[in-house]
Amino acid sequence: MNSSIVRTLLVRGMLAGLAAGLLALVTAYFLGEPRVDAAIAYEEAHAAHAHEHGVEAVSRSMQSTAGLSTGVLVYGVAFGGIAALAYCFALGRIGRFGPRASALLLAAAGLIAVYVVPFLKYPANPPAVGDPDTIGQRTTLYFLMTVLSVLLAVGAVILGRRLAPRFGNWNATLAASAFFVLVVGLGYAFLPSFDEVPKDFPGTLLWQFRLAALAVQATLWTAFGLIFGVLAERALAPRPERHTPVTHPATAAR
């Protein structure tokens, strides 16, 4: 019984992730692609010291449509599944929140822990930004930052729940948030940074690209939270059999 609920939520999480991925794809295509193209144009104008792509294995038009879709949708489904599993653990354990509010809170926490915290230290870079020689280091640190941030967020939630009976929900939440921000700040201070933006790379283009990347994630996680919340609520509380007759107060009063 419980196992089948987990399976239902997992499937619905992946479907919600797919739907959210479609919306994120729209954002990525219309806000992100123009900036990727502009950055590639810059890269080609400076081809002498940029890394050479060699023979194009995949054309630009494929990369910006089918390739982009594959990446964003797989990402959406994968995080939808992971978030649904996290939701199974969170349900009823994070305070007095119903199924929909829990889903939205989880999505907000996911956006912050999975994306915003690593992004503030290692922001998304357009083509032409980033030294190919440090790709190994940057990838390791990016994933390390993501894992630490997620573990820390889980830790902060557990801490908040432990403190709640003694200090009340408000103060416990403040204390747990302060703990999270403090440790993230320490991570920012001690992990190495990279400044690999070419000297004459347009500042506005970099800013617009990074805003677009943030918008893609905000779309993905917000849409996931809202869609999954509805799907989860229906899975958890099958709709009451008597809907139409009882709800009309005039007929009910008689």
Partner: protein
């Protein structure tokens, strides 16, 4: 009277029951790993590390990798 009969189903304080960890764990382990493998192929394969030779995976998801915030190259 009819209204009070409806209220319990829509009460705002209804907290969903906890799901036992033992019921979640097998799903979490198997599908958690599967999802992480998918994320690896979208985010890092043929960038920092390569399980498959060539550049095709990297080139195919190139734009997604940049826009999803992964270090690409």
């Amino acid at each position: 009277m009819a209204q009070s009969a409806v209220q319990p189903t829509t009460a705002p304080t209804a907290v969903p029951a906890k799901l036992p960890v033992s019921a979640i764990a097998p799903w979490a382990v198997f599908f958690g790993i599967l999802m992480l493998v998918l994320l690896y192929f979208v985010g890092a394969e043929q960038g920092a590390t390569s399980l498959l030779s060539g550049e095709n995976v990297h080139e195919w998801v190139h734009d997604a990798r940049h826009l999803l915030g992964f270090p690409c190259h």
